[in-house]
Subunit: 459 residues, 2 copies
């Protein structure tokens, strides 16, 4: 086996080089099966999945027809949920059956979850009995629970064993999981008592008892907890694998770091997309109609919230009619408030996701946002007030601009942190706050304060 440093030196970037995607598209276009195989076979399954995601639906269908024999279980489980159903539809049943049979049960569950019932049954039917039962048991756990994430293939040893006994047992075992990093120590009722890293096992003498080399820190996860909790635990405590137990504390499976990392990645994606007001189901391989449909709800919502701004402004039409310049200046106050609100919001949502913002420090953080908003409000007011005075030669107009700016910066900073905190307390995802709410708040307040002050002072 050759190290792949050669490739990396050439490009200094991993992943599929653009020229490979271009060549694949050419090969598909020419229906050149041999060239397609030559291009795809050397790639890692994750990269092949990326190629499938990057090309258009028509080319994808063509590629699958030409190269269906090349699609294996690993590729299937790397493919993004958004196109998996479509890919499976275009593959012959025997290819799918072959593909899923080589996978660990957690990967089969991951594939099954997003499929239609008919496709699910076809896949379940392809599994042998033991695997089918294991998959069905996993599917009995709630969606997005630890039970769905775990694999049932575990490596255990009675807690009274020695290193030698364990190694002999492992050498006799016919089927071990592809990847395992610990031997879990269990009592006679299959309750996990601790674990031993494979490194310790390898470096200890045969007569050493497992109980004497177990890891100091050990934790288990309930099968019913949410997967976001699982991701947090892996990230916070730097776990590589963690045993999963049922309500009687008996071992039912194990979750490994790759599954936890996947969840973490999906959560980050959700956070970014939700903050921007995009449905979290969105994917780059969606067509224009699906894309438009996902985004429309937030846009329509914004249409209504923006009407609030319009309503506020129309209340001051008499003032604007007297001094039309106000119409030109009002978006400055509103949009700078929008930016400040977005800043405060992003920090708060992120801190809630990493659990750095808790009810223990929330009052301090809210005070900090208030002070920061005030400080920036003063700074911006100075710049804008002076500019207003210099350009329009009216000190009162400058003062109104400055005062409105200060008020709106404070509202923005507070809104940005209080809205996600409130959603969190209600048990909702703080990222759902999204720009829309906070921007509406800062728009409405910005227009109201600026035009209100202008009405009082200037007319």
């Amino acid at each position: 086996m050759q190290a792949e440093t050669g490739d990396m030196r050439e490009e200094e970037r991993s992943g599929v080089p653009d020229r490979v995607v271009t060549s694949v598209l050419e090969a598909v276009d020419e229906r050149d099966e041999a060239r397609l195989s030559d291009l795809l076979e050397p790639l890692h399954a994750a990269d092949i999945a990326d190629v499938l995601e990057q090309i258009g639906p028509a080319e994808r269908r063509e590629l699958l027809t030409l190269w269906s024999a090349g699609i294996d279980g690993e590729i299937l489980s790397e493919i993004s949920d958004s196109i998996r159903e479509e890919v499976i539809e275009h593959l012959p049943p025997e290819v799918i059956a072959e593909a899923v049979r080589e996978l660990d049960t957690d990967d089969v569950v991951d594939i099954l979850e997003d499929l239609e019932e008919q496709q699910q049954e076809a896949i379940l039917g392809a599994l042998d009995r033991a695997d089918r039962v294991a998959v069905e048991q996993a599917m009995a756990y709630p969606e997005y629970s630890a039970g769905r994430l775990m694999q049932r293939e575990v490596v255990v040893a009675p807690i009274h064993w020695t290193v030698g006994e364990t190694i002999d047992f492992l050498r006799r075992s016919e089927e071990l999981p592809d990847q395992f990093y610990h031997v879990i120590l269990v009592d006679p009722r299959m309750k996990p008592q601790g674990y031993v890293t494979l490194g310790r096992l390898l470096s200890s003498r045969r007569e050493v008892r497992l109980a004497d080399i177990e890891e100091e820190s050990f934790r288990t996860i309930r099968a019913t907890i949410e997967e976001s909790e699982v991701a947090y635990i892996f990230n916070q405590y730097h776990l590589i694998s963690c045993p999963v137990v049922d309500e009687n504390d008996r071992l039912v499976g194990i979750i490994t770091i790759d599954d936890a990392m996947n969840v973490l990645d999906e959560e980050h994606e959700e956070d970014i997309l939700r903050l921007a007001g995009v449905g979290d189901e969105s994917s780059l391989s969606d067509g224009p109609v699906a894309t438009a449909r996902q985004r429309l709800p937030w846009l329509v919502a914004n249409l209504f919230t923006a009407s609030l701004s319009a309503l506020v402004i129309s209340g001051f039409e008499a003032t604007i009619a007297q001094l039309v310049t106000l119409a030109a200046l009002m978006p400055i106050v509103a949009s700078t408030g929008g930016i400040a609100g977005t800043q405060s919001l992003a920090v708060a949502v992120r801190a809630l996701a990493t659990r750095n913002l808790t009810s223990a420090n929330a009052p301090r953080v809210v005070r900090r946002e208030l002070m920061a908003g005030l400080l920036n409000g003063l700074g911006l007011a100075l710049i804008l007030g002076l500019a207003g005075f210099v350009i329009f030669g009216d000190p009162l107009l400058g003062a109104v601009l400055g005062m409105a700016m200060i008020c709106n910066q404070v509202v923005a900073a507070l809104g940005g942190v209080l809205v996600p905190l409130g959603l969190n307390r209600l048990g909702l995802d703080p990222a759902l706050a999204s720009g829309t709410f906070v921007t509406t708040l800062t728009d409405v307040m910005g227009f109201f304060v600026f035009l209100g002050l202008a009405t009082l002072v200037l007319t």
Copy 2:
């Protein structure tokens, strides 16, 4: 050792319970050293670091004075960069020396990176000679490179060894890394040739040759590549550990998944904060002045870009003077465009970060955004146009609103994808595009198209 499921059942949430933080604050307030120890000692180092981050600077100083003996290397390396310098300042030199001596070299490097030179030297002085040399060598690699991330403690075996020879060697080794998951196979010049998982090693018979049980897929990482590239490789290929080589392909260290996961987490944080126009150095433990200072640059930038909108509007003052209702309606067109731009931007930035958006599929994605923008523009135009007609009884006003909405939705969708694509092509971080640019674009276009059309049609 007891599994910690008990705790989890009680709260169904990991991390530090709020009541513990509250109790810690009480103990600090009462200078009750014994109670503080009782509260903190049972916690994982990562949780203790969280407590330190969540409390205010004054309480933190007090806690460190009361409990300095409790701070070990693990806690130091879990503490966020933003408060580490402050923590180290308040600890006695002997505590720091003791703490860093137990750490792997990569963790020492991680701590050193963000310190002042004087603090750096104090820590280097505390290490024994071999460790100091290893740390200094790592520090010679560029910041944010793989060389800085790797640990130098590696477990290697000549490629011609058998399983038995390897196990005997491991049992004889005095000092093995805390965590290792593979034995790296090297040739006589220390060039990595492949690796064997510990699971395979444990389950194979003593006489089996390592070369016969090596993993099928094997890659190495150059010490000079960027850490973001490292994170991508670990995530894409589901690696647990990966050997690092120098420019002559010789083994110089190893990177493990926990380091890669850290980088990934930091990158996500950067993406969210940059998109929102917050400096990526921002942290929840910053005071109000630091917070205000980080956010001010974008706010000032926005002040100038918002002035563009003001300039555009002031060009139409005559039109607004004739029909003041336009001033109330124009923010609707602009803000709905802002939301659409943010949506398109978030999807594009995320897709660039995960390398799903490449030059191979960029034209297709841009076309998709254009179409989606057009579709949503039509939908919103219909709603808004009808509403405009019904409320103001003026079909022309409705038509102007609708037309402006369609134009601005298309501009927003295109801007949201083209701006980050352009930044990426220039070698800049696409997340730097941030809301500010795209919102300015949609504001300016929104006001211009709406007021322009109104001038042509309505006056």
